[in-house]
């Protein structure tokens, strides 16, 4: 077994710089371009609303990031956000409970889904991607059963003919609509979660251990790490983050919406992937994920302002993703294959 040391040539150094700062440079250049050509782009209200819109994607991206850290990928995250939307609406509208209860119920449901995922992955040994794909279908279907496939709205007539007693509480609606000073509350939540995730992952033993599992689960186990527990934990954290994203969504929509969340999945995956490649970190990280979300927000906002249609945006999203991947895999020297030469 021989690890390989290669000296850094000028070409390699140039490439390293591109890998490390290329993405940030692209983001900044795009920002400048749009700011110069679209006067409305760089206003503070526009920037805040951009951040606000991206907050859910970013939070879901953080969840996916956690599962990437332990070497997996959570595809059920969009449907968990959708489940949160449904549960919050049902709690407040059908059962006339407070917003606090709704938040509690949603988070509990999230933890439960996370535990099921963890069970399938850790105990049943089903690969992450496949287990969470299955769960995605199951949640998407099962959540609609109690409401017969209809969105929950206040004032709706229930099956026994009476009017649903509750409505969204004012406090609950503030989750999306509130402000902290000039900053929209979802943006604050997003930033807090980014900081918390960053701290957790790179400053605490739990985070370190999770990275170890992602790097080499066998080595982690033989270093005394409870691999199953931490892998499971990542899925629980992921589902909880998805639930937080769902709470913001439902408070934004102001009612249950059977379709909410579903479309966030691929975007969140893209954001987490971009996040892994920025700063040349080569490993999933919270600030990168935020940057990925911001980059996608800039691209999409800029393109909308320039009058492009949704399909141009899909194309742009795909292009950004592929670019990130080229940075990660094609250019980066990080991924040196480990040579075993016994």
């Amino acid at each position: 077994m021989a690890g390989t040391t290669v000296d850094t040539t000028a070409l390699d150094r140039a490439r390293d710089v591109i890998v490390k700062y290329g993405f940030i440079a692209v983001t900044i250049l795009l920002f400048i371009y749009f700011a110069l050509t679209e006067p409305a782009f760089a206003t503070s209200s526009s920037i805040f609303s951009m951040l606000k819109f991206v907050s859910v994607t970013a939070i879901l991206g953080l969840g996916i990031m956690f599962t990437m850290v332990v070497g997996g990928l959570d595809l059920s995250i969009g449907s968990v956000a959708g489940l949160a939307v449904q549960m919050a609406a049902m709690t407040m509208v059908f059962y006339n409970m407070t917003g606090f209860t709704a938040v509690g119920v949603v988070m509990l449901a999230g933890v439960l889904v996370g535990l099921i995922n963890a069970f399938l992955i850790v105990v049943c040994k089903i690969p992450d991607l496949l287990a969470t794909l299955g769960m995605m279908f199951v949640i998407q279907g099962a959540k609609l059963i109690p409401v017969s496939g209809q969105s929950v709205t206040s004032g709706m007539v229930t099956r026994d003919g009476s009017e649903a007693p509750g409505r969204f509480t004012e406090g609950f609606l503030q989750i999306d609509r509130g402000f902290v000073g000039p900053i929209p509350l979802p943006v604050v939540i997003m930033l807090l979660l980014v900081i918390a995730s960053w701290f957790f992952l790179s400053r605490t033993t739990w985070g370190r251990v999770m990275y170890a599992i992602g790097a080499n689960p066998e080595a982690a186990r033989l270093a005394g790490v409870r691999v199953g527990f931490y892998r499971g934990l990542a899925y629980v954290i992921s589902a909880m983050l998805a639930s937080v994203g769902g709470l913001i969504l439902v408070s934004r929509i102001g009612q249950g919406d059977v379709n909410a969340g579903a479309s966030s999945l691929l975007e969140a995956v893209a954001v987490a992937l971009v996040g892994r490649s920025v700063l040349g970190a080569g490993k999933p990280n919270a600030w990168g994920t935020l940057l990925g979300a911001v980059l996608i927000a800039i691209v999409l906002t800029g393109l909308t302002m320039k009058g492009f249609q949704y399909y141009h945006q899909d194309t742009a999203k795909g292009a950004v993703l592929i670019l990130a991947l080229i940075f990660s895999y094609t250019l980066s020297r990080k991924k040196i294959r480990y040579v075993s030469a016994t």
Binding site: M1, G3, T204, T205, A212, A215, N216, Y338, S340
Partner: protein
């Protein structure tokens, strides 16, 4: 692998493969610095060399995995250009790489594995049912007297044992009727009986006029099998010999200086107090129960061939797998670790045998790799004190003589021996109660071996219970106070090191109940 003098000492002697001035760079790193050597038909040439000497690189060039920078390769006197594994095969060069996992295809049947190269080369019809491949597979198997039935040939390759896998690969290589056969540590996964079978085969091939290159770290095999011997050091050919060999000279050429570790130069420690009492432990699926007491204050050397159950023993104690049967008592109280973490908390540590697969974390630094098992000790409130972490790493570097630029150097960039020092040191320096070292010397050169052994003995002197599991007698001699010989999951010998000689150990290692 008994010393068995060859029956026919003369080979035909024609040069089958001639290497001239082979060089190879990895980036700015020149790994082969002009290797010139001959392999002769009908002779076995042993290739010796310390870690990183360039053996595998040379083999990979010959088998078409890497391309050489410079130099020439001649097969039977004609210049050849080896660029791919295919061209290597076309020129009659076949290689059996050491890790069979690298070469066996688990999803295909044994039969398909046997004829795989013929398939790839297009030597067999492109369209063929599995049944239609059987006759050819049978033919190959029977030409080597493998005695494999059709049911066996139709098994998926993932179902067969390591030893059978090794034979399969050998058969596959031989099926190509090679002029040159390269074997990279072929016995490392074989039992004694299987190794003997392999030796018989190798001799038969030699007698058929094949030129064989045989890579090994085991001098006994060299003695038993080789006609010629070459030593590679630092990318250069250092020495050539023909039988009879001057082994000390070869070792000196390998390492640059003669390192002699005499068994009696150890001051033997004798432990009194029992640390761990094993009763009725069943190590292998069909093995009989085993009783063993491990004591504080001495180094117990557990020796056995591959598959004897050494790793199982270590892993059972460390809580990696559930016990099949049996009980353990630690300091007189019942002990049944449910996880590796539980063992670590009780002061029982294991440095596993396969460093790359079981200890290395791609992209991690010396500091983070070193601190992983004991993170909590430097993390008040679970927040990692990074200064303490780096101090920990600096301490490993200093006290174990690790050659590294500092705590932040990536592990991947260290040489193999230094990697091994780090992954052993991170446990050994934490005052273990019981330290299990599984093949701690695998792939490390003698210098590093000596340092690791010294540290282990130092801990034993301080009262720790040290268990070293090896399959090589020399390695055992370098470190052990007490010798336990394991074969097929059972103990065949248990004695103080000074009270037995090597031949007794070797004899009981290959004992079969």
């Amino acid at each position: 692998m008994q010393d068995e003098p060859r029956t026919d000492p003369t080979g035909s002697g024609d040069v089958a493969l001639r290497l001239t001035d082979i060089t190879k760079d990895f980036g700015p790193n020149r790994v082969l610095k002009g290797v010139t050597m001959d392999l002769r038909a009908g002779r076995v040439t042993a290739l010796l060399g310390a870690n990183g000497a360039g053996k595998s690189t040379l083999i990979k060039i010959l088998s078409g995995i890497y391309e050489k920078q410079d130099g020439s390769v001649q097969v039977a006197g004609a210049d050849v250009d080896i660029t791919t594994p295919m061209t290597a095969a076309q020129h009659g060069i076949q290689t059996v790489h050491q890790r069979i996992d690298d070469s066996i295809i688990p999803d295909l049947t044994v039969a398909e594995n046997l004829v795989f190269e013929e398939l790839v080369r297009g030597a067999l019809p492109r369209v063929r049912s599995l049944k239609a491949l059987l006759p050819r597979a049978r033919e190959i198997a029977s030409s080597l007297d493998l005695g494999w039935s059709d049911t066996f040939l139709l098994k998926d390759a993932f179902e067969i044992s390591i030893a059978d896998g090794q034979l399969l690969l050998l058969a596959r290589a031989l099926n190509q009727r090679p002029k040159v056969l390269i074997l990279d540590e072929p016995t490392s996964t074989l039992s004694a009986a299987e190794a003997d079978r392999l030796f018989t085969l190798v001799r038969r091939l030699r007698d058929d006029g094949v030129a064989i290159m045989y890579v090994t770290h085991r001098l006994s095999e060299v003695r038993a099998l080789a006609d010629d011997l070459v030593v590679l050091r630092d990318g250069r050919l250092q020495q050539e010999q023909t039988t009879p060999f001057d082994m000390p000279a070869a070792v000196e050429a390998m390492l640059g200086k003669a390192i002699q570790v005499e068994a009696d130069s150890l001051t033997e420690h004798r432990g009194e107090q029992v640390a761990l009492q094993l009763r009725g432990l069943q190590l292998l699926p069909r093995s009989a129960p085993l009783d063993l007491d491990l004591r504080y204050g001495e180094v117990t050397g557990v020796i056995g061939l591959i598959g004897a159950g050494k790793t199982e023993l270590a892993q059972a104690i460390f809580g990696v797998d559930r016990l099949r049967a049996g009980t353990m008592q630690l300091d007189g109280t019942d002990f049944a670790p449910r996880s590796t973490g539980a063992a670590v908390r009780r002061g029982i540590y294991l440095a596993p045998e396969d460093r790359a697969a079981q200890a290395m974390l791609p992209g991690w630094t010396l500091a983070t790799t070193g601190s992983l098992p004991f993170l909590s000790s430097i993390s008040p409130g679970s927040v990692i004190n990074r200064r303490a972490e780096r101090k920990m790493a600096a301490d490993i570097i200093n006290s174990y003589g690790v050659v590294a630029t500092g705590p932040d150097q990536e592990m991947d960039a260290l040489s193999g021996g230094n990697q091994q020092k780090v992954v052993v040191a991170r446990w050994l320096r934490q005052s273990p109660r019981i330290m299990l070292l599984d093949e701690p010397f695998r792939g490390v050169d003698l210098g590093a071996r000596r340092e690791i052994a010294g540290k282990a003995r130092e801990q034993a002197a301080n009262g720790a219970c040290i268990v070293v599991l090896v399959s090589d007698v020399e390695e055992l001699r370098e470190v052990a106070d007490r010798v336990v010989v394991l074969a097929e999951g059972q103990i065949y010998l248990d004695a103080h090191a000074s009270e037995i000689d090597n031949s007794t150990i070797i004899a009981s290692m290959s004992e079969v109940a």
